[in-house]
Symmetry: C2
């Protein structure tokens, strides 16, 4: 099957809602290239371009893409095959009132640093080292169940997950809340630390190669996103505090362990305290994101 | 230099205070083997042995060991060379009111699961997989500056850090607050997840091979513990909430980056958002622990 391209120029959203109008309809199993623009819609092209406040419209997500046959209660499987940068620089910025150290002594906002990219590495002025390009998707999600969330917010539908594992070679499973799923994605980074402390990674436009597949009537219903890497399964959870997000992600991991091994919730909890563990995705968005990694030695596909 | 053994039978503490009486005095550069007992002092030898409440005395730390020449303001470098298990099983437990999911539906406490160990792997009843033994030190610290902390608490002196990186092949740097440093350690685990969700790993007695070295008048003063792995430098921070611990660990990472590259605090903050990142050590102790990993490509020894 040839690979169809869907560009942000055809349509992009700044809010995930229950009722989204698709810009394209694709089949389950179809291979796609998703063309995304940078999270700041091109507003930052030099260190002199600073962002005074979090824009009302940020993290444009190319889509929505209707996936034929997806029904509420299904799972949408998205294999991330490649993320190619379409600009020759990223940008990392601080915004007043936003970020882990907002308001701390010595932290200036707004501030912009461009990160030029050459031969697969980023550079950052003042750091005499090449930073490997390691692209990831910041925002990926589907139409919500009932509420609406701007593309600044991560929640059960996905959205602004800002998770380093949303990278080539990995798969993300999203719950389907509405007919057609209505997938959208954007807000890519050329590189990002776990935590995304200042509030951004190296924001950049990309072409993302994916394959989408609908899992009809899945053996396991998903309440929240789940990531598969070559080595691990990682339930993701979003909450007001990191503590609450840890609880949700751990509960999801325990449920998977308990179901697979037919052990009690308590035994799965004790076992979860021995292998893999809690990982920070981001600590800066309106809800924060945590994942609980369980190595594949102990967990097979729940679907 | 031959390796001297210091055993928990010679002395162990349950509280780090400013004034600790040493059970041994060693030289800077000396190689030691530290014999530790399990965190529950042998009280749990089968699944039938449960712990009703967090004991007043828990996490016995073998020591204190006076390191000759260590003065307040110095740094104590501890190379962790090997951690050998001295029991044929660990134990992972829940205790009422303790742990990430304490009080949640379906989580029983108290509960004990023994984890028998054979041929370098743990087993856990109901899970049909070998769990690799991957030992770590749960509690390691020095005499405090002015306050006192039981060995259940992690703080600037170290203490109950419960961090997977406190493992063979890595080095921990501790601030010296009192003459002789007064190093003590124990509370080892045969395996533990990042997060230590249920409140323990696979608790076990060990022999720990270390080399201690005093860094007199170090180029960089340490306020909190710092870990060096083969690939990264990781400042550790402890706080009431994960958010606060993230802030402290990120500030420490930024300070190291800023000093090494002679860049502004803001630039170091933006750069810290691109590489390595925040990692969860534990989410269950009276203070929680987070580290901020910076790959060695971008940071050399601060000492």
């Amino acid at each position: 099957m040839s690979r169809r391209t869907i560009s942000h120029e055809e349509g992009a959203i700044y809010e995930f809602t229950p009722e989204l109008e698709p810009i394209a309809t694709v089949e389950s199993g179809e291979k796609l290239t998703i063309d995304t623009r940078d999270s700041l819609d091109g507003a930052v092209q030099s260190d002199a371009d600073v962002i005074e406040a979090v824009p009302d419209e940020v993290n444009a997500a190319t889509g929505p893409i209707e996936v034929a046959g997806a029904e509420p209660g299904d799972v949408l499987r998205v294999d991330i095959e490649d993320i190619r940068l379409t600009e020759e620089h990223g940008r990392v910025i601080s915004i007043e009132g936003f970020g882990l150290l907002a308001g701390h002594d010595g932290i200036e906002a707004p501030k912009t640093r461009m990160t030029p990219i050459e031969d697969g590495t980023l550079s950052f002025e003042g750091i005499d080292a090449d930073i490997p390009v390691d692209p990831l998707i910041g925002t990926i999600g589907v139409a919500t169940e009932s509420e609406s969330h701007t593309t600044l917010v991560p929640h059960n539908h996905g959205g602004n997950l800002d998770t380093t594992d949303l990278a080539a070679g990995n798969t993300v499973y999203l719950p389907v809340f509405q007919e057609g799923a209505m997938l959208a994605m954007g807000d890519c980074k050329a590189a990002m630390a776990d935590g995304e402390m200042c509030g951004t990674g190296a924001e950049i436009g990309t072409d993302i190669d994916i394959t989408v597949e609908v899992l009809n009537e899945p053996e396991t219903e998903l309440e929240r996103p789940l990531i598969e890497t070559p080595d691990a399964w990682k339930p993701l959870a979003n909450a007001e505090t990191l503590e609450e997000a840890c609880e949700l992600a751990n509960r999801d991991a325990i449920e998977l362990l308990s179901a697979e091994h037919d052990i009690s919730t308590t035994d799965a909890y004790l076992f979860s305290s021995l292998v893999g563990g809690l990982e920070i995705s981001q600590v800066v968005d309106p809800l924060v994101t945590v994942r609980n990694s369980i190595p594949k030695e102990y967990l097979s596909s729940p679907f």
